[in-house]
Amino acid sequence: MGSGEEFEPRIVAFLCNWCTYTGADLAGVSRMQYPPNVRPIRVMCSGSVDPMYILKALLDGADGVLVGGCHPGDCHYVSGNYKARRRLAVLGAILDEFGIGRDRVWFRFISASEGALFANTVRDMTAALKALGPNPARALWLA
């Protein structure tokens, strides 16, 4: 990032195969415009996203991590999204306690038919991360 250029946050997105990934696909085929700051990773379920993956992305310098899962009651595996919500709550509590930046981790329920919601979420998150500034972990050799 050279000086004078606007900071473009990098978002790593773990998207559930059945809902949010398909929703992101719908945003694409519907030609909705949204910031190109997101790097999607398709996972089979938001419940399969170990907090370790999120931490790994953050420590390696991702400016934000988005986890997208099905709406409550809609999980393809019945309860993966509820379990994800619990794991993310624990991750958030730990990040909060040490002041490491809970606000860089977003967890959203976005269904396969909500392409616009996906596009809006990425737009909102990009704006929020721009306001937050670059993730200091990116240049931290200690972690």
Binding site: L59, A89, V90, I94, P134
Partner: protein
């Protein structure tokens, strides 16, 4: 609960306790007994005892050290349901860790006879060994000084509780027998014809209450102090200065606390509740190629080696802090003397609060990660 008294006799309460435990083996009430013994002056280790004479001779039920958590030891023995009855002498934190291991399906509660005991705190086993078992001038471990559970939770693992708090060293020991204690063991205790310990039991209860209050104050001070340390950690050497990035932020302070980590994973081995057969940090997941290391080092200016140590500790907090009983085994096992107890105490206090979960309290409380509610934790 029924309170009885073990008379301390002439050679002291520890010998009396050893004889009591040996008796359980001798009459066949239990088939094995997990108990600390003294192998050499100041060298304490757990054994699975079969021979009552060994327990009588070398048993150190009150040894003020915890070489490893008895919960780990018991889990190793009863991972599958044992054919015989195994009794185990457990400190409160060990009993609570065992409850968590049972819930994590790493130990079977059937055929385990829990003999929990009051704990006055433990010393670092290495210092204790070097002092030849003489505790003069030694300070109890930090985890013990702020421990909120010096007395066992009676209903968590129904068995026996050996009460010591509030009764001075040469006094008798209160044995509280739970209604749900294995009938065969209860019958043996009955046959010993112990005197009633109701009076001493009442005195103990009052002392336990007072001690818990005192510990609560110590714990509150400790947490306050820990959080102050975490936020006030100043700026350290940053190899590369990125404009607009403050060098005073949480992660950096946190990472500096852990900077001396050698990646030995002893904390995980010693942790009674960290249970995976194969830890992801022992797999080739984090074995990168040279190019990957170089790219990452290039981005950060340098890369702390061994790498991924901060990720490792944060991951362990995410996986295990809900079941953390605060025994401090992680810190005791750390060759670099990292403040692991302090950091885990901070994390687990917060995460357990999220679900109002108290690890080791009850076999019936579901592990928070094994269940969920339709409506909770919103907004995310």
């Amino acid at each position: 609960m029924k309170d009885l008294l073990i008379a301390s006799g002439q050679d002291g309460r520890e010998k009396a306790l050893s004889r009591f435990l040996a008796k359980l083996l001798e009459v066949g009430a239990v088939d094995g007994l997990v108990v600390p013994v003294e192998a050499a002056a100041g060298v304490i280790t757990h054994v699975l005892a079969k021979d009552p004479r060994l327990v009588e001779r070398a048993g150190r039920p009150l040894a003020p050290v915890m070489p490893s958590s008895a919960a780990t030891v018991v889990s190793e023995i009863v991972r599958k349901r044992p054919s015989g009855r195994v009794a185990a002498l457990l400190r409160p934190c060990e009993a609570r860790a065992l409850v968590e291991l049972i819930k994590l399906k790493q130990a079977t509660p059937e055929n385990v006879v829990a003999i929990s005991m009051d704990c006055a705190g433990t010393y670092d086993p290495v210092l204790y060994r070097e002092a030849g078992g003489n505790v003069d001038g030694l300070e109890a471990r930090e985890a013990c000084r702020v421990c909120l559970n010096p007395a066992p939770l009676e209903d968590a693992l129904p068995g026996m509780v050996l009460g010591l708090i509030g009764l001075d060293d040469c006094e008798d020991v209160v044995v509280s027998v739970h209604e749900r204690l294995d009938p065969a063991v209860a019958a043996v205790v009955e046959e010993l014809g112990l005197a009633s310990g109701e009076d001493a039991g009442r005195r103990r209860k009052a002392s336990v209450q007072a001690l818990v209050q005192e510990r609560q104050r110590a714990y509150d001070r400790f947490i306050e102090d820990a959080r102050r340390k975490a936020v006030s950690a100043g700026s350290g050497p940053t190899v590369r200065d990125v404009s607009g990035v403050s060098d005073r932020f949480g992660l950096e302070a946190f990472a500096r606390e852990l900077a001396a980590c050698t990646g030995c994973h002893n904390c995980r081995v010693a942790c009674p509740v960290c249970y995976c057969k194969e830890c992801v940090f022992d797999t080739d997941t984090f074995e990168y190629e040279a190019g990957q290391f170089l790219r990452k080092a290039g981005r950060k200016g340098a890369l702390k080696m061994p790498s991924e140590t901060v990720l490792y500790h944060l991951t362990r907090m995410n996986h295990m802090s809900l079941s953390c009983v605060g025994c401090g085994q992680c810190e005791q096992a750390c060759p670099a003397h990292l403040p692991l107890f302090r950091l885990f105490a901070m994390a687990s206090r917060r995460t357990q609060e999220v679900f109002g979960y108290v690890p080791g309290m009850s076999l019936d409380d579901k592990l928070p990660f094994s269940t969920f509610r339709e409506q909770e934790l919103e907004p995310r």
